[in-house]
């Protein structure tokens, strides 16, 4: 009879199995993490355990004495989690999934590579998995089985990024804007940014650009107080909307997100700004609908005008590239996971 291998199991809840309202209740805030580890280690007597907690997933990994023991622990774990989160056991059962043995290894590999993420192929998840593993190691909860699985998952994720298109291209409006700005200006730390309007979309793109180093930000709004308020929060400078035409030539990136019936930036204003920039490109992102910038300005030399449709089209194209890579990636990761599992089973 084949060796059944170590009794590794996983009880988890992700965006695929639970709505946001349930995930919010199942989430493990840092102050509750120790309680969860105590539950797994002491109450359930698991020699190895790990908690992976991100915005979209809560996953509890454990190594029982045998696969049969793991199956028996499932009910107990659901009851304990229900009690801890003040949920009905039926609810927890409904919105969670349970995996064992080789399926757990395959799942970890997929998660680390971003295959299971809400935004397919995102890279943050690998950092989060590494952090969770480091935390479990520090608590003395990771042993030979979890060590091998998680360390191998980091290698598998690296393989996927290097050899497939799973992480290629920006797939959100903000990251597309960052990619385009980087292709024009390189490092964004010296780029001057002008945000027109204080709406949510403009703020999210501003945040993406700031995360890549853009520091010199000016914010204009129809209501000066709103510009001041956002500028205070973003360490930026507030200005009147009437000053925008004069600021165009001094800016490298202009984010337009103003709710207006007619364009607020004309082709003539942009032509005038371009003529004073000595050939330096001016990146204009029109996020507003109706548009804030006269569409014919796209014909001007050194003006790179992108609207919401342009950014969305690029993001969708990149997403399709990633989706096309999923099957190849999954098959190879499953192969790699199988090898790791077989090696673990042979040792057990």
């Amino acid at each position: 009879m084949a060796n059944p291998g170590p009794g590794i199991f996983l009880l988890g809840s992700t965006h695929r199995t639970a709505p946001l309202a349930v995930r919010e209740r199942l989430a493990v805030p840092p102050e509750r993490l120790e309680a969860i580890y105590q539950l797994l280690r002491e109450k359930m007597s698991l020699p190895e355990c790990l908690v992976l907690n991100t915005c979209n997933r809560v996953e509890l990994y454990g190594v029982a004495k045998s696969p049969e023991a793991a199956e028996a622990l499932r009910r107990q774990l659901i009851e304990e989690i229900s009690r801890l989160h003040r949920l009905e056991p039926g609810e927890v059962e409904q919105y969670t999934f349970f995996k064992q043995r080789g399926d757990v290894v395959e799942h970890v590999f997929g998660v680390a590579a971003g295959l299971d993420s809400q935004m397919l192929g995102e890279t943050e998840i690998l950092g989060q998995v590494k952090d969770s593993y480091a935390d479990a190691t520090q608590r003395g909860s990771a042993g030979p089985v979890l060590n091998r699985i998680f360390q191998k998952s980091f290698q598998a994720a690296k393989w996927a990024r290097t050899n497939t298109a799973i992480g290629r291209g920006a797939v959100s409006v903000g990251s597309v804007a960052v990619e385009l700005a980087t292709r024009m200006f390189g490092d964004l730390d010296r780029s001057r940014l002008l945000l027109i309007g204080v709406g949510e979309v403009g703020q999210s793109v501003l945040q993406a650009l700031r995360s890549r180093g853009a520091r010199n930000v000016t914010i204009a709004s129809r209501t000066f107080a709103h510009a001041q308020e956002l500028a205070g929060a973003q360490e930026a400078v507030a200005t009147e909307l009437t000053r925008v035409p004069a600021l165009l030539s001094e800016s490298d990136i202009v984010l337009c997100a103003l709710s207006a019936e007619a364009p607020v930036i004309t082709r003539v204003q942009l032509a005038s700004a371009a003529s004073r920039r000595a050939g330096v490109p001016l990146f204009v992102i029109d996020l507003a609908v109706p548009r804030n910038v006269e569409p014919t300005a796209t014909e001007l030399e050194n003006i790179f005008l992108y609207n919401m449709d342009d950014l969305a089209a690029i993001a969708n194209e990149n997403l399709k590239t990633r989706e096309a890579a999923v099957d190849t990636c999954r098959v190879t990761l499953a192969d790699k996971a199988k090898q790791v599992w077989e090696s673990l089973a042979s040792r057990a």
């Binding site: 290629r168 920006a170 980087t182 292709r183 024009m184 390189g186 000595a278 030399e301």
Partner: protein, 285 residues
């Protein structure tokens, strides 16, 4: 093989440049950056083989191997790769090696199919005169810098085209930014123009002493190329020639400079010297 060792080495060098270019192209087509160790091994091997070939040709005439259009193109390819390898730490621009390898391979292939490739080598006149040798070396160096400038200008134009057409992915994501390329283009033109100016000044000193030694064609073409780059540099400095116009000018001027090698290499009373006798020609860009 080994019937003409210098030529064999030069063929080998070009083959390595082509291999390096092909290797990087295959990676670029898959929207990936090429592996540096493999790429630089190929380019370095090509550079070593080409150096050996040029050295052996130089030994035959006891002077710099830049006696005809074939040798001039080979020397240009050599300088382009030399600059990329030597200035690797400074010019850390993605895909620059790929484009430089492409240029060197193209120059090498064209040169090897020229009739002058199989003719006996010709040397530089007054081969023992260090100022003339320095003049020639500087002129070739400046043309190499202009070759690199044409390369970075092409990269600028491709990146810009992608942004204008709203194209992402593929090679566009791998190319350096417009700002980096524009900054490098200005520096390369400055370095190249200075080097060529000094070379022209040294050549002029020699010409004043021996006015009949250089033909009017060679003189006219050389001065036209030199003035062309000076004007482009001045206009860029005054912001009158910017972005695409500047990049196209750099590409166009280099094409003109390459084409000028034919009249320049013929613009003297060329005498094919027998091996081991001092040459009498003065073929320089």
């Amino acid at each position: 093989m080994f019937e003409n060792p210098p030529l064999d080495f030069l063929w080998t060098g070009v083959a390595f440049y082509l291999a390096g270019f092909g290797y990087a192209l295959a990676a670029a087509l898959r929207a990936r950056e090429h592996g540096r160790p493999a790429f630089y091994t190929l380019i370095g091997s090509g550079f070593a083989a080409q150096s050996a070939g040029l050295y052996l040709r130089g030994l035959e005439t006891h002077s710099l191997p830049v006696g005809n259009a074939f040798e001039l193109l080979q020397a240009l390819a050599w300088v382009t790769i030399f600059l990329k390898l030597i200035l690797r730490a400074t010019l850390r621009l993605r895909l620059l090696g790929f484009f430089a390898a492409g240029l060197a391979a193209a120059l090498g292939v064209i040169s090897l199919f020229m009739p002058s490739a199989t003719r006996p080598p010709m040397g530089v006149a007054e081969a023992g005169n260090p100022w003339i040798e320095f003049h020639v070396a500087l002129a070739i160096f400046s043309y190499g810098v202009f070759g690199l400038l044409a390369t970075t200008s092409m990269m600028y134009l491709i990146q810009r085209r992608g942004l204008e057409r709203k194209r992402t992915g593929g090679i566009f994501g791998l190319l350096p930014s417009l700002a980096e390329l524009d900054s490098l283009n200005r520096q390369l033109l400055l370095v190249g123009a200075w080097a060529l100016s000094v070379a022209v000044a040294l050549g002029a000193l020699d010409w004043v002493q021996q006015p009949g030694g250089v033909s009017a064609t060679k003189l006219g073409v050389t001065v036209a190329v030199w003035v062309g780059y000076l004007v482009a540099g001045w206009m860029r400095w005054r912001n009158r020639l910017v972005s695409t116009h500047y990049a196209w000018s750099c590409v166009g001027l280099f094409a003109l400079a390459i084409l000028s090698l034919w009249p320049v290499s013929r613009g003297h009373n060329a005498v094919v010297p027998p091996a081991s006798t001092p040459p009498t020609s003065r073929p320089t860009p």
